[in-house]
């Protein structure tokens, strides 16, 4: 059984017919040729498929495309302003916060989501003061970025890059 959805992906409106069993990740990759989000596990365990979905970070392998009609999707390919990279992406380059690069689009989208969450004052599991403003301490970044696995082991640089990207 098929359904039709309209998605706004990296600023472009796209319509497509999808099998109801098609995940948002597969719709992006196979249906629209948007291959920036990666499939590392297809089970929501690694974070490589993370995008900003209606402004919040989300793994795209865990939900079906048909339920996202009208959604706004920003992938790592759409984070920059067309000419310049997003500051978080620049920070990833400077800090060499990646090696193979496969988890990186997801890390970058997740990082942008983290910065928004912290700016909005959302606490995390390691936030001591739930009433004050959220801080971007290394511990907070580690906790908030732990849904994005990196097998190359770039974590210590990722934490530095996320904090640099906030400045």
């Amino acid at each position: 059984m098929d359904g039709e959805v309209e998605l706004r992906v990296d600023g472009r409106t796209r319509r497509l017919r999808v099998d109801n069993r098609t995940t948002l990740l597969d719709a992006l990759r196979d249906g629209l040729g948007v291959t920036s989000p990666k499939k590392g596990c297809d089970h929501g365990q690694c974070g490589a498929c993370t995008v900003l979905l209606d402004g919040r970070r989300a793994v795209t392998c865990l939900s079906f495309a048909v339920v996202h009609d009208g959604a706004e999707v920003v992938t790592a390919a759409g984070l920059g302003d067309g000419e310049r990279l997003h500051p978080v992406q620049e920070a990833f380059l400077d800090r060499d916060a990646f090696q193979c690069g496969f988890c990186t689009p997801g890390q970058v989208c997740s990082a942008v989501g983290v910065l928004d969450e912290v700016a909005a004052g959302h606490p995390s599991a390691v936030t001591a003061d739930l009433t004050g403003p959220a801080e971007l301490s290394p511990e907070e970044v580690r906790e908030r970025m732990s849904g994005n696995l990196c097998r190359c082991g770039a974590y210590v640089r990722i934490v530095e890059a996320v904090r640099d990207g906030a400045r």
Partner: protein, 694 residues
Amino acid sequence: MTDLLRPRAMGRSPRRVEGPAKVTGTAPYASDQPVHDPVHAWLVQAEVARGVVTSVDTGRALAEEGVLTVLTPDNAPRLASTEDAELAALQSHDVDFRGQVLAVVVARTPETARHAASLVRVVVEQRPHDVRLSGDRADLYAPEQVNGGFETDTAEGDLAAGLAQAAHVVDRTYTTAWYNNNPLEPHATTAVWSDENLLLYDSTQGVHTTREAVAETFGLSPERVHVISPHVGGGFGAKGTAHVHAILAAMAARALPDVPVKLALTRQQMYSLVGYRTPTIQRVRLGGSADGRLTALAVDAIGQTSRFKEFAEQTAVPARTMYAAPHRRTTHRLAALDVPVPAWMRAPGECPGMFGPEVAMDELAIACGLDPVEFRVRNEPEVEPESGKPFSSRNLVACLREGARRFGWSHRDPTPGARQESGWRVGTGVAASTYPVNRSPGSEANIRFTAPGRYRVEIGAADIGTGTWTSLAQIAADALGVDHGDVELRIGDTRLPKASVAGGSSGITSWGSTVVAAARAFREKFGDRPDDGDETCVAMPESSASDDYAMHAFGAQFAEVRVHVDTGEVRVPRLLGVFAVGRVVNPRLARSQLVGGMTMGLSMALHEHSLLDERFGHVVNHDLAEYHIATNSDVPDVEAHWIEEHDPHTNPMGTKGIGEIGIVGTAAAIVNAAHHATGIRVRDLPLTLDHFVR
């Protein structure tokens, strides 16, 4: 002695040249490559560990709309070569391990292929299987040689006498777990077969090695197989040799000429189809004199292999290099089981093989009443112990001393269990690292001048996250005497000159030596003012350095470990490594390699463990939710440093290879720190909390 290259671009830290493509996700990995109207393959796998396929019913699958073909052992075409049993896809009705591919369904969409695969009914007559590795099996056997071409057993002097004369003896058995490489990118192949030409977009550590394996399996001449792999989402050995999915994708593509067939393994399938590190059982015996010198050293290592194809991890090999001792021996024994075939995983041999001995060294240091840094320094050999060759350079002692200084080791109270902070027992530990300088034969490089002032350097090398795109161009720039920006490097394609595999930390040694030779030949032929289109292609020069020298990188790793008093939870707040790895081509990228290796070592120490269900013969925790790898919050502080090391013997760059040494010794340093924290000696990885709750 080689004519060392003068470093201008080398030693600088340009950012990764492919970095912008990676941080935007636009760098094309195997399954990102755009192909027109692809079809999709899905695998059907064996659900028993041993048996015989008696029937395959594909009727219901074929009746699904959109299913194009189902290949099974009944109808799959015969392959030209089945010499590599791992690649003999669908050639036999025998089931050799749970997870073996028994059918492949090809359909117009991945959803249809997956559903149709669930409709294929395979009947297997089950046979009794045997998947249990243990040290007391009666059928352990000595392989002819072990991975890397090393001798299976070695002996020198009289081990029994050496142990008898020792003032202190450690005789313990250590075990490492079954580990799965788990690169973040699952293996994927897109295959197009047209007019007896095969195009493969593959995720591989060596396009040419994949081409050779596929060509041989199908009986094609290698020129007919074109493999493209510009970016690889991690490999760690799992993509160093061709695995069966590449054959299956090609087979499906041959059945559907001119149609691109996409086959991407699932994370779960990677636990049975792409290799893994064998669990090991290591009996280590060390004898020490009253003044802390080794009188005897023995490592007897046991691992597993699959029954249908042998892989022998060289676990005891690093013990042949590390420490001086007059009486010594190393042995390797294997159990042949009904399991998937083990293969390379980051630092095969050294990674598991430096666990037992480096923990034993800590135990013996304590028995001798010596500081573990000092104890290692005291047992430093003058020449490589077993070969008798001089070292081309060996700076283990410098790494230990510099590491101790940076880590603040001198303030350490050696008493185990002496330090407690806020409910955590705190300890520190040390272990040594080593990795050989490997040089793989078979590379060629082409250099072409493309006006104005640009040099195109072509070699079918791989960048698996190691930084080849950047660092090999830096080497080419110095070899040509031009700026880094004037070099256009092309890698990752079999249309380029042949290159050896990215494995054994041999990439830069092999490809770099080749590129330097090509640059020198180019300058000799065309001088400093070449014409547009001038080009020259040369093969990697021979080197006899390994006949005369033992060439190894060394390192020292220091760990701080906290073990919770009540829960036994183990944390590693700090890791610090100092390495002697020859010249560092690009410090920014090199640091990532070393830190990444140490991080994977931390992951091995604390978490990783593929749990085999012996009743069924499969890894139960076959995904990333249950096979835990270190996450960001597990890794607060990892530092890697290196000492200046000048080695004129390894290659023209003076490099030693840095991709693997970082994971060597980490787990031992953490176990030793945990002992210092708690007084409890763990000899079986991983370092789970049950070891500490008594």
